[in-house]
């Protein structure tokens, strides 16, 4: 049951009636009876919200920050329903529309459009559809809700895709689709061609030259069909918020850029998100399917407040990679965690694969270390310096162990990781 402003106005008129015309218990009784009667008649004449039939169609996925459109179809087999309709979603689904006005005569259908701009990555669910049906007199009405399930998946935004063209250009240079082919830019034998003055004499293939009679040059190209395993740590080290997003989201951004780049370079990419259990697992999708499948798998992953079990990470990676591959581990550089749980178990991984550890640095630490106006700042600066020194020491330890460490600010981590990949490829270490 709902009342409207008109019922309140009627009650107000009733006050005037009691004051001016009939100041007695009888007058009050008359007013109450009139209001209740009008409201009851209105409620009985209002169309039933329960009898409405709903269905939905529209977007099921949207990139974070963009707008999804979901349609709600309402059919009315009963009496005319006039009033308001609220299509309720969870708050982070970011519903843009105020409640819809609804005027649905018997037997008709309407299509209502709800615009969503999700504010958080992951699956955003529709709650319930509530209809307030006001009676023909406009004094009171009925209200009822329906559950019309729908889920819009807010995908990682992949903001770092702006860095993709420049990295692809450098990849093309490496790849031989642009001019210069000299040794060092790859280790995989490509072809033989005639010597042109200016070529590196070290690349001359003397045996072929002897066979052919003219000077022949060996050309090289970067390896193809290598495997890249991207591992995202979704444990507590990724929960820390750097800037306005958790480390996990920056890590996803970097992972997506690397995946896009590696796919274009002809490598096979697989993905693993893991803390105390595996949260997302994509194994060697078809090249055209890499980004969609990664984005989809990563969308619902949230940082869990548990310690990541690196034994699971290592065993999972070893299980799925046969040949020598690149393993990219996106985690945090926390000395205690890395030294106690990663270093003891990483040896088998290092024996067979190239390991890159990428971590999102916190610009706040640099800021803390640079500010020294009063005593509090000095202690903060000392603490930040200690943190940085520990990280530097850990980086040195990891480098000695054979791990390539990438430690960059959130806006730099994705291109830095892509550059590291290109550098490894160029050096022929894959």
């Amino acid at each position: 049951m709902v009342l409207t402003g008109r019922a309140a106005v009627l009650a107000g008129v009733g006050v005037l009636f009691v004051a001016l015309v009939l100041p007695s218990w009888g007058g009050i009784g008359l007013v109450i009876a009139a209001v209740v009667l009008v409201c009851l008649v209105d409620i009985l004449l209002a169309g039933s919200p329960r009898r409405l039939q709903f269905s939905r169609e529209g977007d099921t996925a949207v990139r974070l920050g963009q707008q999804a459109v979901v349609q709600l179809l309402v059919a009315n087999p009963g009496r005319r329903v006039k009033g308001l309709l609220r299509d309720a979603w969870v708050p982070s689904a970011g519903v843009q529309d105020p409640p819809h006005r609804l005027d649905l005569p018997h037997g008709e259908r309407r299509r209502l459009t709800t615009h969503l701009v999700p504010t958080r990555r992951g699956d955003r669910q529709a709650d319930r559809v509530t209809v307030r049906s006001i009676g023909p007199l406009g004094f009171a009405g009925r209200q009822g809700s329906h559950r019309v399930d729908w889920t819009v998946r807010a995908l990682p935004p992949f903001n770092s895709r702006k860095h993709l063209p420049s990295r692809l250009a450098r990849l093309r240079e490496l790849d031989g689709r642009t001019a210069l082919l000299v040794r060092g830019q790859g280790t995989e034998f490509d072809s033989l061609r005639d010597y042109v003055p200016g070529d590196d004499v070290r690349s001359i293939d003397w045996r072929a030259t002897a066979r052919r009679g003219n000077v022949v040059l060996r050309t090289w190209r970067p390896e193809r069909d290598r495997q890249v395993a991207i591992v995202i740590d979704s444990g507590r080290m990724s929960a820390g918020r750097v800037g306005d997003a958790p480390r996990l989201d920056h890590a996803m951004d970097a992972a997506l850029l690397l995946a896009a780049l590696a796919t274009r370079a002809g490598d096979r990419v697989s993905l693993l998100a893991c803390d105390s259990a595996v949260r997302a697992d994509v194994r060697r999708p078809a090249p055209e399917d890499v980004l969609p499948s990664f984005v989809n798998a990563l969308a619902p992953v949230e940082a869990e407040l548990v310690q990541t079990d690196f034994r699971i990470v290592v065993s999972q990676v070893l299980e799925r990679l046969g040949q020598r591959s690149l393993v990219v581990l996106l985690t945090g550089l926390d000395p205690a965690v890395i030294e106690e749980s990663l270093l003891p178990v990483i040896a088998p991984l290092l024996r067979r694969h190239v390991v890159v550890l990428a971590s999102v640095a916190d610009p706040r630490l640099t800021e803390l270390e640079a500010t020294r106006t009063d005593l509090i700042d000095v202690y903060n600066a000392a603490s930040a310096a200690r943190t940085r020194l520990d990280r530097d020491r850990l980086t040195a330890t990891l480098t000695r162990a054979g791990v390539t460490v990438v430690d960059e600010n959130p806006d730099q981590i994705a291109p830095a990781l892509a550059d590291t990949y290109l550098a490894l490829k160029k050096a022929g270490r894959l």
Partner: protein, 381 residues
């Protein structure tokens, strides 16, 4: 496409769900109302036949009933003006009755009238000739001092209170002969007793001395006793002509109408269009939280040595990197190199980079500033 299911209960479901609790609540309310009505006494207050207080008269009422007298307590004048032939009327001590009411009581032909501490007006109409002597007798055990059978049978009784003077035809008891607390007047077919002492018959005092016997013999003369307690409102002393009222009487009704309107507005504004939607939110922890926490620990424990060591190590690292000094270089070599590059006094450089931990906060601040300047000069030589 997805289909819908209604949420919430229909009116019928709600009714089926609620009817049992409602029925039980209704029965409980009904029973308690019935019990309450049944247990409400018709009278209350001092000298009431239903009151069990110290100043009530429940004991006397019970005693009379045990001796076959039917006691009817009342606070309404109507019960005191009905035909009273062969019956006793007792008029309680408080309250004000106006002359008309008293005359109607007088005309009701009660066989026996008992006036407990009556006022002047009541005496004038119901017991002509008896006057309030305006002297109070002290409360004590007294001899009857008369030949009234009831008093003689009771013997001594504890009496006291208002005293009355009586015409010679009356029998006077429990007094000094002039001022008496019990006066019996026998007029045409009617006995009128004026009793100044009400305290004698209360629950607190009834058991003392010959009080109970006096009460029984004095009051229990007829089978029916109407125990009337006049109320103040019944009299004409209520000032109903004291000018216009301060608030117009309609204000009360307007207030009730306003309350109803407020209720309607509350229902109108208070109803939400569907419930609040809740959601599980992720934990937000700032990545620098632990670093800032450690800084607070440093400060609280005044760990100047640790803070200074961290700052020095950090600055040294930057200087070594900037000047190309090997990491494992001797302090003296480091100091010498930096002193020549920056032009600082080697002693000062040594003091800043390798000196003692600062002794107080000011020293720590100074050290921090000097390290800052030193590294700044490296960055902008």
């Amino acid at each position: 496409m997805s289909t819908s299911t209604p949420v919430g209960r229909t009116a019928g479901e709600s009714w089926r769900l609620l009817r049992k609790p409602l029925l039980i609540t209704g029965v409980i309310v009904l029973v308690s109302i019935v019990v309450m009505i049944a247990s409400i006494a018709p009278t209350s207050g001092p000298f009431s036949p239903d009151s069990t207080e110290q100043n009530g008269a429940r004991a006397l009422s019970n005693l009379l009933q045990k001796h076959g007298v039917k006691v009817t307590g009342s606070e309404y004048l109507a019960d005191a003006v009905e035909s009273g032939e062969g019956k006793t009327l007792l008029i309680g001590p408080n309250g004000q009755l106006d002359r008309d009411d008293l005359r109607r009581i007088a005309d009701a032909r009660w066989s026996h009238l008992i006036l407990i501490r009556p006022g002047d007006r009541a005496l004038e109409i119901l017991a002509p000739g008896v006057r309030d002597s305006a002297q109070n007798l002290s409360y004590s055990s007294r001899q009857p001092g008369c030949d009234l059978p009831a008093a003689v049978k009771a013997g001594t009784a504890e009496v006291g209170g208002a005293a009355y003077t009586a015409p010679p035809s009356a029998k006077v008891c429990y007094g000094d002969g002039i001022n008496n607390t019990v006066v019996r007047l026998e007029t045409a077919g009617r006995i009128v007793d004026v009793v100044g002492t009400s305290r004698t018959f209360t629950n607190a005092e009834l058991a003392d001395d010959g009080n109970a016997a006096l009460a029984l013999n004095l009051i229990g003369t007829h089978q029916n006793l109407t125990w009337y307690l006049p109320q103040y409102e019944a009299g004409d002393s209520v000032a109903d002509d004291s000018g216009p009222p301060l608030v117009p009487p309609s204000v009360r009704y307007i207030a009730w109408a306003l309350a109803f309107a407020a209720l309607i507005v509350a229902i109108w504004r208070g109803r939400r269009l569907g419930p609040v939607v809740v959601e599980r939110l992720p934990v937000i922890v700032h990545a620098a939280e632990t670093t800032e926490g450690r800084a607070r620990l440093y400060r609280r424990s005044r760990a100047r040595d640790r803070a200074a060591a961290a700052l020095r190590e950090s600055a040294l690292g930057q200087l070594q990197k900037a000047h190309g000094i090997p990491r494992r270089a001797e302090p003296s070599a480091v100091v010498a190199t930096i002193a020549t590059r920056t032009g600082w006094d080697p002693l000062l450089v040594h003091e800043v980079l390798y000196g003692m931990p600062p002794m107080d906060d000011v020293a720590l601040l100074n050290l921090s500033d000097q390290l800052d300047v030193l590294t700044q000069e490296v960055r902008h030589p």
